[in-house]
Symmetry: C2
């Protein structure tokens, strides 16, 4: 089909018996057009199935679009470091195009810094924003401003549906917990006590972690795996020394033989304890390919990791925005990443493979 040359605006103009400017006007809904002209142009457009040449379009409008990416400071946390890498990659990939991509970092541990950075972002006057909305309330305030200003935004990592972003990129947390449960169940010997460890530093994480836990527990009940006893423990904040002791306490007191850690950072913190006290025989399931997690997986302390792919999430977020601005391509409302199961044998294939 369509072995023909692509239809150009000029062709439409000729067919409709008007000038290119008129066609341009109906295409972009700018300026006023007479009923007759509108109809003629519309007819021609439909008949030909005109599609604009995006290459020529972006070249013609010399506009440079501005994209702001807001994430927690990569220097403070390896998980966000990977997100940062994804944004950097996107920056490189799109460097040839008329887009300016700028990163803005806030402090993962300070809500106030989010507000400050949000202010900076607004000063940057972005045409759209990619954002990891870690701080719920602060984010909502920010969204109000953005909506008012008509600046579209994409969320990733953490979803806030009521924010009505043009797209959310992340994972199904409930299902993620089920996968963790599944891996733990296949690896553990039947009867046994399982500990779900929530190790986090920021309260608002709690909601999300509970979602994982719900999936985790549901898996066991759905499959009637009653030989396993599940107990969950919160470590809201941790001081290195105390943390070790407390975790060890729990493991010994409740004679735990399997652990599910709901956070990426928590994964290696828990692994460190198992490693330090020679408890490698416990089955440990955690999250993400952080440097330390990789290490403990090679060492056999961590058995499975579920990959949230922070790098790819961020990369895709920026790419969606570029396509949205430059090529008027609407991103999917929600893009749920696959729940990748990482093991000792396939981990390398994940580390070395590109981002595509």
């Amino acid at each position: 089909m369509a072995e023909f040359k692509n239809i150009r605006i000029k062709d439409i103009a000729e067919m409709a018996g008007v000038s290119v400017a008129t066609v341009d006007r109906v295409l972009h809904k700018r300026g006023k057009i007479s009923e007759k002209a509108l109809k003629k142009v519309m007819d021609a457009l439909e008949k030909t199935g005109y599609k604009p040449n995006l290459i020529a379009s972006t070249l013609g409008s010399n506009k440079v679009y501005r994209i702001a990416a807001m994430i927690p400071d990569p220097a403070l946390d390896d998980y966000w470091n990977q997100s940062g890498a994804g944004i950097f990659k996107a920056k490189e990939d799109w460097s040839q195009y008329n887009v300016r991509i700028e990163s803005f970092y806030f402090n993962l541990y300070e809500k106030s810094s989010f507000k400050q950075v949000a202010e900076k972002v607004l000063q940057f006057q972005p045409d759209s924003i990619l954002l990891a909305p870690i701080f719920y309330h602060e984010a909502l305030d920010f969204f109000d401003v953005l909506k008012e200003k008509g600046i579209p935004y994409i969320l990733f990592n953490t979803n806030i549906p009521e924010a009505e972003p043009i797209s959310f990129i992340g994972q199904d947390l409930y299902q993620s917990g089920r996968v963790g449960a599944e891996m733990l169940a296949t690896k553990m010997k039947a009867p046994g006590n399982i500990a779900v460890l929530h190790i986090y530093e920021d309260i608002q994480n709690a909601v999300h972690l509970k979602e994982k836990e719900r999936g985790f527990r549901d898996y066991f009940s759905d499959n009637r795996l009653e030989e396993f006893n599940i107990q969950s423990y919160d470590f809201g904040s941790y001081l290195v020394a105390e943390f070790d002791r407390e975790v060890l306490n729990v493991l010994n007191r409740d004679s735990i033989s399997g652990i599910f850690v709901s956070t990426s950072k928590g994964s290696y913190l828990a692994a460190a304890v198992l490693d330090k006290y020679g408890k490698k025989d416990l089955v440990l399931v955690g999250y993400d390919l952080l440097k330390d997690n990789i290490h403990y997986m090679y060492d056999g302390v961590i058995n499975f990791l579920i990959n949230q792919n922070p790098k790819k999430q961020a990369f895709l977020g920026v790419s969606y925005l570029v396509n949205y601005l430059l090529f008027k391509k609407q991103p999917p409302v929600t893009e749920l990443f696959p729940l990748e199961v990482i093991t000792r044998e396939n981990i390398k294939s994940y580390l070395y493979s590109g981002l595509h």
Copy 2:
């Protein structure tokens, strides 16, 4: 960095005190240039770090690049059907650009058809080719022609290093076997007999399947899992009735409790036997998210699948070619895909997630 406007050819020309045509000549190595002019231009290029505006470039040269994709007929096999889908997706994605992507299908079961199709591909006069080189010798002959004509090509799915393609896209088969072994080992109860089933219809597959088997066996020996006994069986071709009986024979005679199937189609064929004769308690590890495999995974007959991602492989192959032709971007020499472990709990997240 580079808060400045992008450097244009015009700027370079001014800096070097020559015309844009001269700059164009050195950039494209066409026409003759004096030593002096060359030097001046080169200096300016280096000093400014000039990067061509690819948008303008593709618009300017009105050339339409032709890409041929050669794969086994999607209608005959669900695996290749997915590859076809990947090519189709790429076609849509790049439809706006100056590329014409054409698919050519050969019969998976007839070497002669490959030759015929190769002839057609040449007639199409492609600027480059994406190819799944299923038939080794026939492919080699074809490569000779392509090299002579100077037509670059990318291979996917099956590698033929001596063909020296500009890129290979696929998986590490050896490691793939190891992952299969790992999953089987975590799921099976200790002592047990394992069957490695090679179910294929084309001989040349054998080499690749042996590579998977090697990885599979190495995993067990490396981990000193001596409680498991591994036996491999070849089903070169199969007639439905006979196949069932033979497989059943093997399973009963050697009291098999775990199965590793090295092919995607073989996976559901084996699963069908287990299903039919009520042998769901056997652990089965196979390949790929084929329709029937998905079904048997939901039903609990197949325990793990390793995803080779045929759709994405093909999609990426075409995309690499487009970038290579249009934007002069060199693809990686080898792109090894992650060895994705699919389970009952994460399978949906794979089915519903996009291609990115």
